[in-house]
Amino acid sequence: MEAVVLVVVIVMLLSAVAVLLFKDFLAALAAMSVVSLGLSFLFVVVRAPDVAMTEAAIGAGLSSLLFALALRRLGLWRGQ
C-alpha cells in the first residue's frame, strides 16, 4: 500500500514541476491533468470518495476543457 502511494505521489509531484517547466502550454495542460489524476487517487486513499469524484469530474474533465478552449482562443496552441 505504501509503495503504491509513494509511486503515485512521486509521479504527481514530478508532473507538478513539469507543469511549470514545459515550454508548450498544451503539454503543461496534459501534465496538469496528470496532477489532478494522482490527487483523485490520493483522495480515495484518505477515504473521501465524494471529494475524489468531484476532483475526477472537475480536474480531469472540466478544467481540461476550460484550459484547452482558453489556450485555443489565446493562440497559444501551436506546438513547439
Binding site: 470518495p49 469524484m53 469530474a57 472537475i58 474533465g61 472540466l62 485555443r72 482562443r73
Partner: protein, 229 residues
C-alpha cells in the same frame, strides 16, 4: 536579482512549512463535530451518504452561497468575454471518428450524469459532480461540430433560474412549517432506498441542473469567443 529574491523567498517558505509540520500534530487532533454528525446523521436525515447530509441539511445555506458564487463567476465571465463578431471565423468540423463518438456518447453521458445526481444520497456523487457531467454532455457535440447552436443562452438562463428558485422555495417551505431554513421535510423513508431522505434528492436535483446549465453556458461563451490565429 529578482530570481535570487524569489529563490530566497521559496527557501524561507519551505523552512517555515517544515517547522509547521514538525510542531503540529495534525491527524491526532480530536474533532468532535464529525463524530457527532456520524452518530446522528443516519437517523436525522435518512441519507446513507453523510457528506450529502452535511452539504444539504446541516450546512445547506453554505451550499446556497456557493451556488451564488458560481453564478456570479459564470455571469462575470460571460460579461468579460463579450459578444461575438458576426464575421469571425469558426473552427472546422472534427473528423468522422470524433463526430460519431460524440453522437454515441451524448445519451450515455446524460444517463451517467442523472444517475450520479439521483443517487447522491446513497453513493458518492451528487449535484455538483453530476452537473459537471451534464455540462460536458451538452458541450461534447459542440466540440465536434463548432457551427451548430445546441446551447441557447436564453434557455440556459431560464432553466438555471428555475432550478435556483426551486432550491430556495424548498428551503422556505420548511420555514412556513415553523422549522429552520432548509430543514429536510417529507418522510425519511428506509435507509438506503432510492426514494428516501425526504427532500434531499430533490434539492440535489435542483443543484445539479443549476450547476450543469451554468457551466454549459460558460463553456459555450468561451467556445464562442473569437480565436486568435
Amino acid at each position: 536579482m529578482r530570481r535570487f529574491t524569489a529563490a530566497l523567498f521559496l527557501l524561507g517558505l519551505g523552512v517555515m512549512i517544515a517547522a509547521i509540520y514538525q510542531h503540529i500534530d495534525f491527524s491526532n487532533t480530536a474533532v468532535n463535530a464529525g463524530q457527532a454528525i456520524n452518530a446522528v446523521a443516519a437517523e436525522e436525515t435518512g441519507a446513507a451518504n453523510f457528506v450529502t447530509s452535511v452539504v444539504l441539511a446541516y450546512r445547506g445555506i453554505d451550499t446556497l452561497l456557493e451556488l451564488t458564487i458560481l453564478f456570479t463567476a459564470a455571469m462575470i465571465g460571460g460579461m468579460v468575454l463579450g459578444r461575438r463578431r458576426v464575421d469571425a471565423p469558426r473552427d472546422p468540423d472534427a473528423g468522422f471518428i470524433l463526430r460519431t463518438g460524440a453522437d454515441l456518447l451524448f445519451p450515455l453521458l446524460l444517463v451517467v450524469g442523472l444517475y450520479i445526481i439521483l443517487h447522491g444520497h446513497l453513493t458518492p456523487g451528487g449535484g455538483f459532480q453530476g452537473g459537471v457531467i451534464l455540462a460536458a454532455a451538452f458541450f461534447l457535440p459542440l466540440l465536434a461540430r463548432p457551427g451548430i447552436t445546441l446551447i441557447d443562452q436564453r434557455v440556459v438562463s431560464l432553466v438555471e433560474g428555475l432550478a435556483g428558485a426551486t432550491f430556495i422555495i424548498i428551503g422556505l417551505l420548511a420555514m412556513f412549517d415553523g422549522k429552520e431554513f432548509l430543514t429536510p421535510l417529507l418522510d425519511k423513508g428506509e435507509l438506503g432506498a432510492l426514494i428516501s431522505a425526504g427532500t434531499l434528492p430533490i434539492l440535489y436535483l435542483a443543484v445539479g441542473i443549476k450547476v450543469g446549465s451554468e457551466l454549459a453556458g460558460l463553456l459555450a461563451h468561451l467556445a464562442e469567443a473569437e480565436a486568435l490565429d
